[in-house]
Amino acid sequence: MFDWKWDFTLQILPRLIEATGNTLMAAGIGYGIALIVGLVFTLAQKTPYRALTFIVRETVEFIRSTPLVLQIFFIFYVGPQFGIRLSPWVSGMIAIGLHYAAYLSEVYRGALDAVDKGQWEACVALNCSPRRTYFGIILPQAVPAALPGMGNYLVGIFKDTPMLSVIGVAELLHTANALGAETYRFLEPYTMVGLIFLAISLPTAAGLRIIEAWTRRKMGLTRED
């Protein structure tokens, strides 16, 4: 195809595969942070403290309405202004983790709200502790409603990791840029990066659909209407 060189492609493949490892690690760590911080954001909005709820709500809105790449720059460059030096990996993980935490907190919130109000009332009637109410009754029922959103953002965070290249995290796009600069060939590196992304995100998305369907069946939530 046009000027495509297979030997060059094979030559750069090991470095791209190595970078894929970094990309997957960045997505995994970022997602791990997002899962936990997102839950904190959600639960903070469920507390009776109005001021806290308001602040968390506005923070989530702010994070969701501003570009991730700008947030990455902000976190990376703001530290040194106050004498705190964060490595590209650390600031990248904080930025991407917080960004997706904001998204996931909306998913959790929606899922919690989707649990029948009667379930909460039954917990109160049965005098369940808050701990038992959440972990025993509400959260297990909220999981199937949260799964599709959580799955979408897992794929989403994976696709957003190339933005980490702007501060020098050696993930896929960063490696492709370096290869392009070394060899003056951009066709193969960028095309291969695109193909690697497709090769991972399409099967993952398909796999997630299967897990969702399975969970819904297990929970007896499949409806025939």
Binding site: F2, D3, E61, F62, R64, S65, T66, P67, L68, V69, L70, Q71, F73, F74, Y77, V78, P80, Q81, K159, D160, T161, P162, M163, S165, V166, L172, L173, A176, N177, G180, F186, L187, Y190, T191, V193, G194, F197, L198, S201, L202, A205
Partner: protein
């Protein structure tokens, strides 16, 4: 005092950048809308070839990163003889990316118009075109508007990436100011706030108004 000095020195450049960002956003929205409607309808075609073409487009653009797409279109496409200037490459890529997400929204909205509406239109002997234009699509628009509100915000955020191919948008200006002054909080922070204002106080209220207009319109007819 410090921040006021910063604004008087660099506010103009940030504003210039914000105008470029607004232009990129508007152009990308037009591209995204056009592609979303076209591809969304193609996805519902009974012709396997047409449906397949739309599916390939949607899966490619949803399956890879916007930034990778941007670099590919800007750096690799010229090797195939298609050279776009950076401004065009920028909004075109962002529009094509969000258009793929939009296509699924359009498809979803059209298939969620109640079945009876199709049947009634067929019973009234409307042509397929009239049925779509007069009956199905207007109702689908009302269904899809809230989703478009979110997509437009994603699109606005997506335009920040065009700075990486040197389009002088808000993100680009913030980066330039940061590297000449080292005032990171001020430059990036102000840019963040401007993006936030654009999303929260321009896009969101506009979409709300559109939703209200649309639902009134549907009820009247």
């Amino acid at each position: 005092m410090g921040y006021i000095d910063f604004l008087s020195n660099h506010g103009g450049r940030l504003l210039d950048g914000a105008i470029i960002t607004a232009e990129q956003t508007v152009m990308a929205i037009l591209v995204a809308l056009f592609l979303a409607v076209t591809m969304g309808l193609m996805r519902l075609s009974s012709n396997l070839l047409i449906r397949g073409a739309a599916t390939v487009y949607i899966e490619i653009f949803r399956g890879t990163s916007l930034l990778v797409q941007l670099f590919w279109i800007f750096f690799v496409l010229p090797l195939f003889g298609i050279t776009l200037d950076k401004f065009t490459a920028g909004f075109l890529t962002v529009g094509m990316n969000l258009g793929a997400y939009g296509a699924e929204v359009v498809r979803g909205a059209i298939i969620s118009v109640p079945r009876g509406q199709y049947e009634a239109a067929i019973a009234l002997n409307m042509s397929a075109y009239t049925r779509m234009r007069r009956i199905i699509f207007p109702q689908a628009i009302a269904i899809m508007l809230p989703a478009w509100g979110n997509l437009f915000i994603e699109l606005l955020k997506g335009t920040a990436l065009v700075a990486l191919i040197a389009v002088t948008d808000l993100m680009f200006q913030a980066k330039q100011i940061n590297s000449s002054t080292f005032l990171s909080v001020e430059s990036f922070g102000t840019a963040l706030v401007i993006y936030y204002v654009m999303a929260r106080f321009i896009i969101t209220p506009t979409m709300r108004r559109l939703e209200a207009v649309m639902s009134r319109h549907l009820v009247r007819n």
